[in-house]
């Protein structure tokens, strides 16, 4: 057993020694392992820079080697990157390799190790990996400091659309950290308890000043962040092109791509590289660069334009032959020579573009701003071109440009020259017209002509020649020369016929003659005027064709009809024309234009054919007529406006509108309702005949108020709104009454005068004097007959009145009936002897109230007398003062109730005769004395109510005698 153990030990030792040997043998290639590995970091670029060397190489030995590099994150077992890096290695050469981390290096601890192997065909026996170097740890976190929170990467610059990884490192375990991209919360993954990673994909461009990403703790103000600068994608330059003007300098241009979008962080640079010469230049400008052509006649050029910024590099290429990119300089020494009226020669020189090259030059001739001729000419050095078919006395511009004839690239700039051709004789006869009038037996002809157009004049017109040829005496010619710029002249001729020749002259020659004839007869026969309607385009005039013998027509009009100068215009028309449109900028709306159409005879004599008149645009009448009203009756009135000038209105007056306002709701026949501009309603009469200047408004109401307003109308509308005239129709009967009443008054007056003159007769007939019986002839007759029975009643014969005074005991009240037994006490006012005569002729009457009026009517001298009254006139007058009182009391008290203590007057009347006082009737039958059987007491009314008793008494007195 022990032997077995010893053997085993020996075997193990042998094995160990073998292993040791092997390791020694194998350690030979180990000398080619990477050594002195150093790892540094570039936080801004998130790069790990590795550098190492291989020491055990022979001096001057150079081997191809491959290095395997492993990078782990957080812990060494977590290898995130393995890369084989091949390179040629020299002894003690420092080798470098970089690795860019997607994750900011501050976010996690990284470790790097590497091993090497010879990868060289020279030493195939060494093709095996060396040992790994030890892990080199990169821990940026530990050097961050003591802040509670960090966010990485700082100020990173990326292109729009790229992916970015962000992390935060938190030192505090209590706080929850939230992170936001421009205010929007991001969700990440926890790398370790302190580190959280956010993967941003396809980051957008937000603004030029960068995108804010920040993290903050749930509690407190802890806030940390970064600014992510996102640029727009850097574009390559466009339209890269190069050309030369003088074969010495190349000018290359391009359009830079759109702006990166960041203000300061990204600057662009442009570099031009020519591959054949190997030259390179840094362009100072963003869009162009100059390149000096090498003097060694290099023909081909291959350019590379490189645009570069922090993030990206863009290149464009251009390959060309220099002679194909020639942009010639503008021609020089350009002249226009030998300028005549119709021809001119242009000469010029060009800059040479090589000994054998030809230039193609283009010549353009401009007249009045338009190209009228275009020609191409091949030129070596000197150019020449003849320009033909030019107009005399005309301004032209000629210009020339050139390009490489063999390899067209671009035209040069134009070189321009202006010139004017020489003058020539006028080509056309002036357009002549005339106006004729007869003054004191002479024919005054005013000639008008239109200036020749520039094309016709062929130069500056200096004067016009007018030749008068007397047709009656053909040998007589008269020449007038009228200097330009006159456009007419006035000639006073006798009544003879003349032919007038007018020519225009410039410095070179004379124009053909324009011929017009005048005859003794002005030819202004009476022609009826027709109306013509104008439009915006002018007046369309037409006329009847003249049968034979017409060489043409002329339409004549005035552009300023109201002006004495008139501004005569005319238009020549061919013999086959029977209509034309006359248009002019001078035509104004509301102006009446008169047109005359003349035929031109074969003898060149114009004669009037037709007259037309019209408005280019009719307007509403400018004013309203002054209307006079007449013949006003109860039912009608007449309006007239004879002075109204319808011809001077700015349109043809087609009629008149009469507006009538009345209180009547309905419009009268012949009128219709109309609403005025002030919304008032009235009746409208339409007078269709423009020549009618009176109108009778009929069927009116008498004694009614009317208002009227008359306005003319044209085809456009009515005249201006004016004031209404007020009229009131008279009453229907007033005039009848006047006719009746006046004669009546007259006849009454006549009757009155007649009556006055015949008053005596009238009196006798109507109211004769009442005969006095005492003076009557009857009395004498009676007396003569001695008839004692027939007497005339005398007042004295009447029994006078007596007043009964009744005394009553005070405090007793007795009715009238009760007083009857009481014996009345009679007071006799008048002492009469006849009172005792006993029963006499008397009529007894009973009346409870005594009315003074009754007594008046009777006039018998029955005078009511108060007890105190004296039988005198004065006493009666005095007593009247108590009258109203007594009356009142008597009316208050009933007849049967007489207040106690009062003294009543009972009136006892005893009439001698009932006929007493009746003057109108004669006492034919004297009353018989009758028994006065009964006399009743009468209640007297005090005097105050009665007529003055004095009069009664006087009357009585009168009758007494």
């Amino acid at each position: 057993m022990a032997l077995f153990s010893a053997f085993q030990t020996t075997f193990l030792l042998a094995l160990l020694s073998l292993k040791t040997y092997q390791s020694e043998v194998l350690s030979e290639p180990l000398s080619l392992a990477p050594e002195s590995l150093e790892v540094s970091i570039d936080s801004a670029r998130q790069c790990l820079h590795l550098q190492w060397s291989v020491h055990n190489l022979a001096y001057h030995q150079e081997l191809k080697m491959v290095f395997q590099i492993e990078i782990s994150r957080i812990k060494t077992s977590n290898v995130i990157w393995v890369e084989n890096y091949s390179t040629t290695v020299k002894r003690n050469q420092v080798l470098r390799w970089s690795w860019e981390s997607k994750l900011p290096l501050e976010c996690a601890k990284h470790s790097v190790r590497m091993r090497g192997a010879v990868d060289d065909a020279q030493v195939p026996e060494l093709r095996f990996w060396s040992n790994w170097t030890s892990w080199e740890e990169v821990d940026v976190q530990s050097s961050l400091g003591h802040d509670p929170l960090f966010v990485f990467p700082k100020d990173k610059l990326v292109e729009e659309g790229s992916n970015v990884t962000i992390c935060y490192v938190s030192r505090s375990h209590q706080n929850n950290i939230s992170c936001y991209l421009e205010g929007v919360r991001m969700h990440g993954e926890q790398l370790d308890p302190n580190v959280c990673v956010f993967h941003l994909k396809n980051v957008p461009f937000v603004r030029e000043t960068g995108t804010n990403i920040y993290c903050k703790a749930d509690q407190g103000d802890l806030i940390k962040g970064i600014v992510l600068f996102v640029s727009k994608v850097f574009e390559e330059p466009k339209d890269f092109s190069c050309e030369t003007r003088d074969l010495k300098t190349l000018n290359c241009t391009w359009a830079p791509g759109s702006d990166a979008g960041l203000l300061t962080q990204l600057s662009q640079s442009y570099t031009l590289f020519e591959s054949f010469s190997g030259k390179k230049t840094l362009c100072k400008h963003k869009s162009w660069c100059n390149w000096q052509v090498s003097p060694d006649s290099q023909e081909m050029y291959n350019f590379t334009l490189t645009a570069e910024n922090y993030l990206r590099k863009r290149s464009v290429h251009l390959l060309f032959n220099l002679t194909h990119r020639v942009h010639p300089m503008a021609p020089f020494n350009v002249f226009v020579k030998n300028v005549s009226a119709t021809n001119a020669t242009m000469t010029w020189k060009v800059h040479s573009i090589g000994n054998y090259s030809t230039l193609l030059c283009q010549i353009e001739l401009y007249g009045e701003g338009k190209v009228i001729q275009k020609q191409n000419v091949s030129v070596k050095v000197n150019g020449k071109h003849l320009m033909k078919k030019l107009e005399p006395s005309t301004e032209y511009a000629a210009q020339v440009r050139c390009a490489n004839a063999n390899h067209f690239w671009k035209w040069s700039e134009w070189t321009r020259r202006n010139f004017t051709t020489a003058e020539a004789a006028p080509s056309e006869a002036p357009d002549v017209w005339r106006n004729m009038k007869s003054v004191q037996g002479h024919c005054v002809v005013t000639l008008f002509w239109k200036p020749l157009s520039k094309l016709q004049a062929n130069g500056k017109i200096l004067f016009y020649n007018v030749v008068l040829e007397n047709l009656d005496r053909p040998s007589t010619l008269k020449l007038l020369s009228i200097p330009a710029p006159a456009n007419g002249t006035e000639l006073t001729l006798d009544q003879c016929s003349y032919q007038i020749h007018v020519t225009a002259n410039n410095s070179v020659g004379t124009s053909p003659a324009s011929v017009i004839a005048v005859s003794g007869d002005p030819g202004n026969k009476e022609v009826e005027e027709e109306r013509v309607k104008g439009t915006e385009d002018g007046f369309c005039l037409s006329w009847k064709p003249q049968p034979g013998g017409v060489t043409g027509y002329v339409v004549e009009w005035c552009e300023r009809p109201g002006d004495p100068l008139c501004d005569l215009q005319w238009k020549n028309l061919g013999p086959n024309t029977t209509s034309t449109v006359v248009s002019s900028d001078a035509f104004r709306p509301g102006v009446r234009y008169n047109f005359r159409i003349y035929g031109i005879s074969t003898e060149r004599i114009p004669y009037l054919l037709e007259k037309k008149t019209g408005y280019s645009q009719e307007l509403v009448p400018s004013d309203n007529p002054q209307v006079l009203m007449s013949n006003l009756t109860s039912y009608s009135f007449t309006l007239s406006w004879k002075d109204y000038a319808a011809e001077s209105q700015p349109g043809f007056v087609q009629g008149y509108s009469l507006y009538l306002k009345s209180k009547a709701a309905r419009c009268l026949p012949g009128s219709e309702k109309a609403v005025l501009s002030d919304d008032s309603i009235c009746c409208k009469y339409k007078i269709d005949n423009p020549k009618q200047k009176t109108f009778v408004v009929e069927n009116l109401q008498p004694a009614s108020f009317y208002e009227f307003f008359l306005t003319p109308y044209t085809s456009v509308g009515e005249g201006p709104q004016g004031a209404f005239t007020k009229v009131t129709t008279p009453d229907e009967y007033s005039h009848i009454l006047i006719r009746i009443i006046l004669p009546m008054i007259f006849s009454i007056l006549l009757i009155m005068i007649l009556c006055y003159l015949k008053s005596q007769w009238m009196k006798e007939k109507c109211y004769p004097d009442i005969p006095d019986p005492y003076k009557s002839s009857v009395l004498s007759l009676i007396k003569s007959k001695e008839n004692p029975r027939l007497t005339i009643m005398n007042v004295k014969d009447c029994i006078p009145d007596a007043i009964e005074v009744i005394n009553k005991q005070e405090g007793t009240r007795k009715s009238l009936t009760e007083t009857e037994p009481t014996k009345p006490t009679y007071l006799y006012l008048l002492p009469t002897e006849k009172s005792h005569s006993g029963p006499g002729p008397c009529i007894c009457f009973e009346n409870f109230t005594y009315n003074q009026a009754a007594s008046d009517s009777v006039s018998c001298g029955h005078v009511p007398v108060t007890p105190k009254a004296q039988p005198s006139q004065l006493g009666l007058l005095t007593s009247s003062e108590n009258g109203p009182k007594a009356l009142g009391k008597n009316y208050v008290n009933s007849l049967g109730e007489i207040p106690a203590g009062e003294t009543n007057l009972n009136y006892v009347s005893q009439l001698a005769s009932p006929m007493c006082g009746d003057k109108s009737s004669l006492p034919t039958n004297p009353p018989e004395p009758a028994l006065c059987s009964e006399y009743k007491t009468q209640m007297a009314i005090p005097m105050g109510l009665a007529s003055p008793p004095s009069i009664t008494l006087l009357d009585e007195g009168e009758h007494d005698h």
Partner: protein
């Protein structure tokens, strides 16, 4: 001046993007070690004597003028297309310098010692990231407002003590 400080802060925040430009943004705990905070308890402030009070303010405005210059430079880099903000920052710096001059005159009049002008920023100013510079600008513009308010109170108290 107080109104201008408020306008400056609003303008500044408006140009910095989220979260600064978010409505109601405020981070009072953000401070700069190089800039003394204006916030002080009323009791402490009141217990200070005139010399201390003016000395604190003068020191703060000395720091503020330098910080406003720094923020102006930062923003010229970060927001070159914002002339309004840059102009307001420049004007604020001039106002702070003016106030500083006035305070120095008052302190001289009262016979108080004046702080010597010193470099409060040091060398750390240039290494800051863009976001840190934005935060720094926020703290400076905010503290500029607070210190202005405090200086107004300081001077009002001084005026009450030395009327006329």
């Amino acid at each position: 001046m107080q109104k201008n400080t408020s306008t400056l802060l609003q303008t500044y925040l408006q140009y910095q993007g989220s979260p600064f430009s978010d409505p109601g943004f405020s981070a009072p705990e953000l401070q700069l070690s190089s800039l003394p905070p204006a916030a002080v308890s009323f009791k402490t402030w009141h217990a200070l004597d005139d010399g201390e009070r003016l000395g604190h303010a003068q020191g703060a405005f000395l720091a503020l003028t330098q910080h406003l210059q720094l923020v102006g430079d930062d923003q010229r880099d970060l927001n070159p297309g914002s002339p309004i903000l840059l102009a307001q920052l420049g004007a604020a710096r001039l106002r702070a310098q003016g106030l500083l001059g006035n305070m120095a005159a008052i302190m001289t009049a009262l016979g108080l010692p004046i702080h010597p002008e010193e470099d409060t920023l040091g060398v750390v100013a240039f290494g800051a990231s863009a976001f840190e510079r934005k935060c720094r600008g926020y703290v400076v513009t905010r503290e500029y407002g607070h210190w202005t308010d405090r200086a107004v109170r300081d001077l009002a108290l001084l005026k009450a003590k030395y009327p006329g």
